[in-house]
């Protein structure tokens, strides 16, 4: 299984409105323009409800803009079929969700194997790789545990292992260390950063934690669906 190349991502005047033309209309993003080069390490920060998760969903092709365009390597992804977008997600994106989103009916190892199985990785290889990833996130011996048998921190680490399973070019993490203590936070971030460096992956982290944000090389601040600041470290 080969690692996916990190894509060049461009968001052009992206607007995302929930429930348009209804009394409950919410403008989550208001004309976002953003360029992410391969291998970049970004943090996105901002108050709750400012559109961070919506932006992350658009970057990861989980959602489509109401207007504007999301481009991968210069090509608008909105014009691709659902099937092609699913394939891009499977091969190219590793998601770490805020609420873990592990499948409750699968063991930790089966959760990690899930994306590899969809890519038809041979059973022996995916089992070996899942075990290696779980060991890397410090869950050796917990392979057969179900999510309800894991602590919040352990669940988050399984989610990280699952995100790395298909060696994606783009890693998207929504509060990846929210449930972890400081030692585990450092370990997980180190792992993500090492993966990013080894494979020249792009890493986008949404966080409230200044310590986590500080580790990134580019900092984006958001408020009310707009980017207020975009700071690159020298």
């Amino acid at each position: 299984m080969n690692a996916a190349m990190a894509p060049v991502i461009d968001l052009v005047n992206v607007v995302r409105t929930y429930g348009p033309d209804t009394p409950e209309e919410v403008r989550a993003l208001r004309g976002i323009n953003l360029h992410i080069a391969p291998g970049e390490y970004l943090s996105i920060a901002g108050p709750s409800g400012c559109g961070k998760t919506t932006l992350l969903n658009l970057l990861g092709l989980l959602d489509s803009p109401t207007s504007g365009e999301v481009q991968w390597d210069g090509s608008p992804v909105g014009q691709r079929s659902d099937r092609a977008r699913a394939r891009l997600r499977l091969e190219g994106v590793g998601f770490i969700f805020q609420r873990f989103y592990l499948l409750p009916t699968l063991t930790a190892r089966e959760n990690v194997e899930l994306p590899m199985r969809a890519l038809r990785v041979p059973r022996g290889e995916r089992t070996r790789r899942a075990s290696e990833l779980l060991e890397e996130v410090g869950l050796r011996g917990r392979e057969r545990a179900y999510p309800h048998q894991l602590s919040g921190g352990e669940e988050q680490r399984v989610a990280v292992a699952r995100a790395l399973a298909n060696r994606p070019g783009l890693l998207l993490a929504d509060e990846p260390t929210g449930e972890l203590d400081s030692a585990n936070t450092a370990a997980i971030l180190s792992l993500l950063e090492r993966v990013r460096t080894d494979r020249n992956s792009s890493l986008v982290v949404v966080t409230h934690n200044p310590e986590v944000a500080r580790r990134a090389h580019r900092h984006i601040g958001m408020r009310d669906g707009a980017i207020l600041e975009d700071v690159r470290e020298a």
Partner: protein, 414 residues
């Protein structure tokens, strides 16, 4: 692993799953019972027809409607291809045995040397050969329709009758067309014949066989101003092997016989077999149509179970889609779950149907027991039934899949 995961997802809502399986099993068991028993009885009757020793039968509407049976027999025997023509008259008479008890019996009057060749292979071993009924041609007593010749007064009794009333060969039995001993005629019991298996129950097993002219005279069907002369119910015609195995020749002979008896019904047993098969096919279709109501309810229940499962697993499905799991893979799991449930229900239904038939054969009333014992479980038909149920479950799965994949991923994850 897929199987493991599917098993877990099905356990998710165990009660609904059990109810869906029970609904489908019930819906499948009904046609299994109806088709297997109905098909078995039809197959049995078909085998009886195909194993008969005669190939053409002449019959008349109404009881004892054929007249001049002896003379028509002679005319039929003169036709090319005919090897035997056996008129049969069936009348219920009262039999008084030596112990003084009386019971109704089915008396069949036949011409002995014509009757034996019309027996099929399954029946021929049940009768003594030649039939010990005096005059083989029944012409002496008949005496050209005057019935003035000496009668033999010989009779064969069925083995169930002989066993029930202790009647032995060499004994006597008094026969009367009405329940009046003083009008009875004493007959010599010259032998016992076996009774083939029947679905009619034991009443048809009390039977006697005697010369046609004797029965005609005893029952008032010999002739006269107010009665049918020389009556019979049917004339069974056996043909040569070359005619029997050639449908065209058999049909031509049937047409010739029909020409001889334009006012009687003439049919070949192959026609009757075809009619029986057609009727059996219609009945099978009717049973399936009847059962489709139950199947529809079962499958609607299955669709509801799948829809509820999709609703309960909304987030899990959203997670899979977010990870990039192909929609067809998610659809495959939902449809597969439905197919597993339907297959389980259908197989359970077939097993239940089989057990019901076995129970009927063991504990039901005599006639139902006989029918149930003839049940045939056609593996092809049962497989088609199961496949049909599974096929329809795919539709239910498709409905649930559509619901599962309709929501946006970000919505499903909320």
């Amino acid at each position: 692993m897929i199987r493991l995961r599917r098993g877990r997802s099905l356990r998710h809502s165990r009660l609904q799953v059990v109810l869906a399986v029970v609904a489908i099993a019930t819906a499948v068991a009904l046609p299994v019972v109806l088709i297997s028993v109905g098909g078995g009885v039809a197959a049995h009757e078909l085998a009886n027809i195909q194993n008969a020793g005669y190939q053409i039968v002449v019959s008349a509407s109404g009881m004892h409607g054929i007249t001049h049976a002896h003379s028509y027999t002679q005319r039929l025997l003169a036709m090319s291809g005919v090897t035997a023509a056996s008129p049969v008259l069936s009348v219920t008479v009262d039999a008084f045995n030596h112990s003084g008890s009386v019971t109704p019996v089915l008396a069949e009057g036949v011409i002995p040397d014509q009757f034996t060749p019309t027996l099929g292979p399954a029946e021929s071993g049940l009768f003594p050969s030649p039939l010990p009924l005096g005059d083989p041609t029944d012409s002496v007593h008949f005496a050209n329709g005057t019935y003035t010749g000496p009668a033999a007064y010989d009779v064969l009794v069925s083995s169930p009758y002989a066993a029930k009333f202790g009647v032995l060969t060499g004994g006597k039995v008094l026969l009367s067309p009405v329940a009046n001993r003083s009008l009875g005629i004493s007959y010599n019991v010259t032998g016992v014949f076996g009774v083939p298996p029947t679905v009619l129950g034991p009443t048809g097993a009390f039977a006697i066989l005697l010369p046609l002219s004797d029965l005609q005279a005893m029952s008032g069907l010999a002739g006269g101003a107010s009665t049918t002369p020389d009556a019979a119910d049917t004339i069974q015609i056996a043909v040569t092997g070359s005619v029997a195995t050639n449908p065209t020749a058999l049909n031509n002979l049937r047409a010739d016989v029909q020409e001889l008896f334009p006012y009687y019904g003439v049919s070949s047993l192959s026609q009757e077999a075809e009619q029986l098969q057609a009727a059996s096919g219609v009945l099978t279709g009717f049973y399936l149509a009847l059962s489709s109501v139950g199947l529809t309810v079962g499958l609607l229940f299955l669709a509801l179970v799948l829809l509820r499962r999709v609703e309960a697993d909304r987030r899990s499905i959203g997670i899979r889609r977010a990870l990039g799991i192909p929609a067809r893979s998610i659809a495959g799991e939902i449809v597969g779950d439905g197919a597993v449930l339907a297959l389980t229900g259908a197989v359970a239904g077939v097993v239940c149907g089989y057990l019901i038939v076995e129970a009927l054969a063991e504990w039901a009333s005599a006639a139902v027991q006989e029918a149930a014992r003839l049940a045939v479980f056609d593996p092809v038909l049962l497989s088609e039934l199961v496949a049909g149920v599974v096929g329809l479950s795919l539709l239910a799965g498709a409905v649930a899949t559509r619901a599962a994949l309709r929501a946006e991923i970000s919505e499903a994850l909320r």
